[in-house]
Subunit: 362 residues, 2 copies
Amino acid sequence: MSLLDETISAIRPPDQDAMARAREHQDRLTKPRGALGALEDVAVRLAGAAGACPPPMPEPAALAIFAADHGVHAQGVSPWPQEVTTQMVANFLAGGAVANAFAASAGASVTVVDVGVAADLPAASGLRARKVAYGTADLSLGPAMTGDQAEAALAVGVEVARDLIEAGGRCLITGDMGIANTTASAALICAYTGRNPAEVTGRGTGIDDATHQHKIDIVRRALKVNRLREADGFAPEHRDDALRALAAVGGLEHAAIAGFILGAAAARVPVILDGVIAGSAALAAVALAPAAAGYCVAGHRSAEPGHAAALDHLGLRPLVDLELRLGEGTGGLLAHPLVSAAVRVMHEVATFDSAGVTDKEG
Amino acid sequence: MSLLDETISAIRPPDQDAMARAREHQDRLTKPRGALGALEDVAVRLAGAAGACPPPMPEPAALAIFAADHGVHAQGVSPWPQEVTTQMVANFLAGGAVANAFAASAGASVTVVDVGVAADLPAASGLRARKVAYGTADLSLGPAMTGDQAEAALAVGVEVARDLIEAGGRCLITGDMGIANTTASAALICAYTGRNPAEVTGRGTGIDDATHQHKIDIVRRALKVNRLREADGFAPEHRDDALRALAAVGGLEHAAIAGFILGAAAARVPVILDGVIAGSAALAAVALAPAAAGYCVAGHRSAEPGHAAALDHLGLRPLVDLELRLGEGTGGLLAHPLVSAAVRVMHEVATFDSAGVTDKEG
């Protein structure tokens, strides 16, 4: 059995009993019922993931930044030169990026994974050299990856998740770096949700109107040339189609992040999704293993319109909503203290009985 | 000169030059311009408050929970018995409340201030006994406080801010405890913003439709009996009216929090506002000293409708928006890691030049 199949078959649905106990416990705590809003749902979700109430504290957190390049960059969908992917990998390794600053704040480790950068990278501490290819092929002309490449990148993600958990990580956070990767994300979101390219294709890190329209056209062409429309008989709920879509229009980092999510779910460890790259990768993961959704927490809602569509489809509510559009894992890292606080309540807050506080009348 | 006048006259407008330098610095960092969304504004705001770029890290944080009771409780506006205020003070001091758990997560100290609880509280470490009165009078029948009481409670807030900053606090967070205090908040918001009671009066920690309508009527009556409507010639931009409104319909904790905000602003230390209690208290503070708004960060948007109205009036955007409706400082504490992360970026992230990352084309 392949690593992917093994991982998928290890994923159990969230524990309904632990979730019910978590809800009951919340109602006994010294606060009005429901007063912690969406954070109560987070604590319940983590109880379901762990199969325990209270769930273990999601600390320490471990961020993995999956870096890769994209053949579609040649179509002029981004104002950034492709070498910025390589340069930013160096920046992560030197500790100079926003993700590093946020990780320091959250007490999270940072692991950078070269799963497909279009250049040879010097070995460095903190860098995992797991290159599957020197970037993808151009998704607007045909499949971005072969099926084997997509499976290899998925396996990289599974293995990184496993390693980070073995090293003590109790909450994984997805990160990504790859110039032009919002184009691949938009195409994935269309494929898995059936939405229209014009609805879900955004401006990424900043493009003008003409480039935006061009990007929409590229996404539309990618869906057509790769036969990922309903009219083509494409049905992402079938495993073969789910995998084919990921290979056809995903990036190597999307595939790795999908594997990372599956690896976390198989180990019953929660994974905080960053932005639109993670959201689109999660659609692939959940198409392959629907129960994996119960292990995901949506860190934030990015400024990309496709992200909201992906989160809707996944049934996830984002915790942070501050118009970030950076990637790298920054939105996931910002959400980590919120997740942690939600779980800490379950461990440390007194009940009405234990604290001698009178419950609400009636 | 009174402590209040001294404090108000010490408040300087935010430093525009430091804010401009903060904006320029953000644009040189290795991220697309504007990619940190609302967090970039937070960093700029803190630069303006400190008069320095980068601003100092807002750590450690210090939470003050101001506790007081409300005469209007007798009108049946809350389903909780009044003694819960006292019981929750004991819970804070024992470390068993949600605020304690969130403070532990944020590394914030917790100080509880009895500024007006309607019971004698035993001395305890972590409790400041600064009782101005055994709760307020019923605001729906006449002024809740005398002018002297309101000024005394304001002074308590100023002094607590000063003490926490002297003890090393680099970011203050407002907290409150007082059964029925959302009724006073709604009345304050109407007085300072001119909004209608039906628009801004919410369900607090949980009431049914009939009680909600009754609460709206009580707020309307309070504004009328205390002559706080425009038709009465009331004009909150005048200092006398601003103080009179606070005394007439505020709680002792509202007055103390207003003083706490003024004390932070006078010391150029940022203050994270919690929910609707803090928002309404900030309206009073800003009516007395408009420049104080520049030292405030809105921690979250609570589920109370009046809170959004208060934040609109203050020109503040909340950082966390998760339908919390607990008070205690919980929303402010949750926002602290976000504020910290925003400032850390200014200290630690590399520039395009220093990291050798190519800037966007064009």
